[in-house]
């Protein structure tokens, strides 16, 4: 039986500096590494420092096996990875988990809501937007300040694809042309037909909670609102137990859950 802890190698083919401490690594995996879907994650790391769960910020497409991880240096593993350069190799296992329910989007109004780095797992959904056959796609993104908005150069392109993009920051500063305030306020102004809306939300848990609540006030049912919670993970396979939330293993049952599935368990804001 194959040892599932053996990682694959991937070569860094490009590094994008998104914001101060956030980098996007374009990765070419060794052959045999399975392609991931939007919302899935890999256990990314290096021998000696360990592994950390990181969602895919770009998925492999027909024309390319390459994918991306967007990483903020905030811990032992991510600090170490932030020192890597083009041509270096990193190690990963995956892809793991249940991604966004893309087959529920057809003919619907897809509302994407992200906060901070939460845009990273939402980005592959935008990447394959044409294939989703959604009636309409709205992306609402909030960040702390203009300097911490990631994928800045891509919004123009996304708008060209027909996606309504609304940006907001807490602290605008000079020259900010978009919204100021929290992302829930934009949701409040959004015109939504509740039965036709499907929402994918990713960001800090408190933000996911308030964004979801705002949608519930518009009568969007809990079964149409999806969130991707963050939990500590060591294995990615539902074995190590760290990510348990109620009856769920966030790594293998999620990380994407409908709000209805998560509601009611303690130790979360849902």
């Amino acid at each position: 039986m194959k040892n599932p802890y053996v990682p694959f190698k991937a070569v860094i083919r490009g590094i994008g500096q998104e914001a101060g401490d956030v980098k996007t690594f374009l990765l070419e995996p060794e052959s045999g590494f399975p392609p991931g879907a939007p919302g899935q994650f890999n256990m990314v790391g290096y021998p000696g420092v360990g592994e950390a769960p990181v969602s895919l910020s770009r998925v492999p497409m027909e024309d390319s096996d390459l994918f991306e991880h967007t990483i903020r240096a905030v811990g032992r593993v991510t600090d170490f990875l932030s020192t890597f350069r083009e041509g270096d190799e990193i190690f990963l296992r995956g892809p793991f988990g249940r991604g966004w329910p893309l087959n529920e989007v057809k003919g619907k109004h897809l509302v994407l809501v992200s906060g901070g780095l939460g845009l990273a797992p939402i980005r592959p959904v935008v990447q394959i937007a044409d294939k989703l056959k959604a009636r309409r796609i709205t992306l609402l993104h909030g960040a702390r300040d203009p300097g911490s908005v990631i994928f800045k150069t891509e919004f123009r392109h996304w708008r060209k694809k027909g996606i309504d993009v609304e940006l907001t920051v807490d602290e605008p500063g000079k020259g900010w042309r978009y919204h100021t305030g929290i992302v829930t306020e934009i949701i409040r102004r959004l015109k939504i037909a509740p039965a036709e809306a499907v929402a994918f939300i990713c960001g800090p848990e408190i933000m996911m909670r308030f964004a979801a609540n705002e949608l519930f006030l518009k009568d969007v049912p809990g079964s149409s609102v999806y969130v991707s919670p963050e939990r500590r993970m060591r294995c990615g396979m539902g074995l190590c137990g760290h990510c348990q939330h109620g009856v769920w293993f966030v790594c293998k049952d999620g990380p994407v859950f409908s709000y209805r599935e998560l509601r009611g368990y303690p130790d979360a804001l849902f």
């Binding site: 905030v74 137990g241 303690p266």
Partner: protein
């Protein structure tokens, strides 16, 4: 007459203690024998070299047999050789030693069935699987009941009713032992000679069980906890117990036969030529267990205690069975005597 031509294979037999000893001794050639040994104070599961070392009357052990010998407390799951071309992964060999885990009580047998659900599911763990396949489980029905046992309330004992997932079931009938071969592989490999049980023997087995059931002292309603738990996650008894008594030492988790959580970490040798990726039992009672960057989902002691209590007594949706097998170890080894059944009773009031 027991000649070759008249040999009849029995799957159930009553044999004397002496014959049982001889039968088990005979396995030593091909199997490493692990059983409950030692009697003063607490018995412990360890390798035994003679049947006489086995304490057939033991009540409980601190460490559960299944978790200890199938999911080792610490083990290497992978290593990396650091070469000029970069780290090269090397898989440690899978354990292949044939073993008999002898004298596993009903609760602990159920705990192994629970661990099977965790480690032999969608993502089977190769180390657990190899050990499990190479380990024959000889279960032993209980002879005594402790004041902390509550298997009778959660359907896991004191007599083992599961029909599969283990190999042999033993019952001490007084002057004889009832030996039942339960698995296909046991029926294939082991031969059993002895008097086949008759109706009165099975009657006696039933009586022994009924007699045992009278000795249980714990009582709480295991059903209906779900609604109470989810509607009152901040019940004062949790707060009071957590803040007044819980030390977050993790003893409850370490001795729990179904607690499967483990940490994975890298260990570098002094020469830095080799990195070992290890796993080690971990405890949800530990402050860092659910910590991520920017938050700790169970920062409060109360939340960590609740996770243990709810995971054991509720959350059946996870694997289709309760997380507890009623062995009572978490109560017995809690330095401040926290009792999850008392917490449940208080919450049900």
């Amino acid at each position: 007459m027991n000649g070759e031509n008249t040999f009849q294979k029995n799957y159930e037999a009553l044999i004397s203690r002496e014959l049982l000893a001889a039968w088990v001794e005979g396995f030593k050639e091909n199997f490493r024998l692990i059983g409950p040994a030692g009697g003063k104070g607490e018995a412990e599961f360890r390798e035994v070299f003679s049947f006489n070392e086995i304490n057939l009357d033991y009540q409980s052990t601190m460490l559960p047999p299944g978790k200890t010998f199938l999911l080792k407390p610490v083990e290497e799951i992978l290593s990396f050789n650091i070469t000029p071309g970069g780290p090269v992964a090397e898989e440690p060999p899978l354990p292949d030693r044939k073993r008999i885990l002898f004298g596993v009580h009903a609760c602990d047998t159920h705990a192994i069935l629970y661990l099977d659900k965790v480690f032999l599911g969608v993502f089977p763990d190769p180390f657990y699987r190899a050990r499990r396949e190479n380990t024959f489980i000889f279960s032993l029905n209980c002879k005594t009941v402790s004041g902390l046992c509550f298997c009778h309330l959660v359907g896991t004992g004191p007599f083992l009713k599961a029909q599969s997932g283990y190999d042999v079931l033993l019952t001490d009938m007084g002057s004889e032992f009832l030996v039942e071969l339960k698995s296909v592989r046991a029926k294939k490999i082991f031969s059993l000679e002895g008097r086949p049980p008759e109706g009165r023997d099975l009657e006696k087995k039933k009586e022994l069980e009924l007699e045992l059931l009278k000795n249980f002292r714990k009582d709480f309603k295991a059903d209906g906890l779900r609604e109470v738990f989810l509607s009152r996650p901040d019940h004062p008894v949790l707060k009071e117990t957590a803040e007044g008594r819980c030390l977050s030492c993790g003893n409850c988790v370490m001795v729990c036969p179904t607690c499967f959580c483990h940490d994975i970490y890298d260990e570098a040798g002094v020469s830095l030529a080799r990195i070992k990726r290890m796993r080690r039992w971990d405890a949800c009672q530990d402050y860092f267990f659910a910590k991520v960057h920017g938050g700790n989902f169970r920062e409060e002691r109360q939340a960590r205690l609740r996770q243990f209590v709810f995971h054991k007594l509720d959350y059946e949706g996870q694997f289709g069975v309760k997380g507890t097998v009623g062995c009572g170890r978490c109560i017995r080894w809690c330095p401040t005597g926290i009792d999850l059944t008392e917490i449940a009773k208080e919450m049900m009031k």
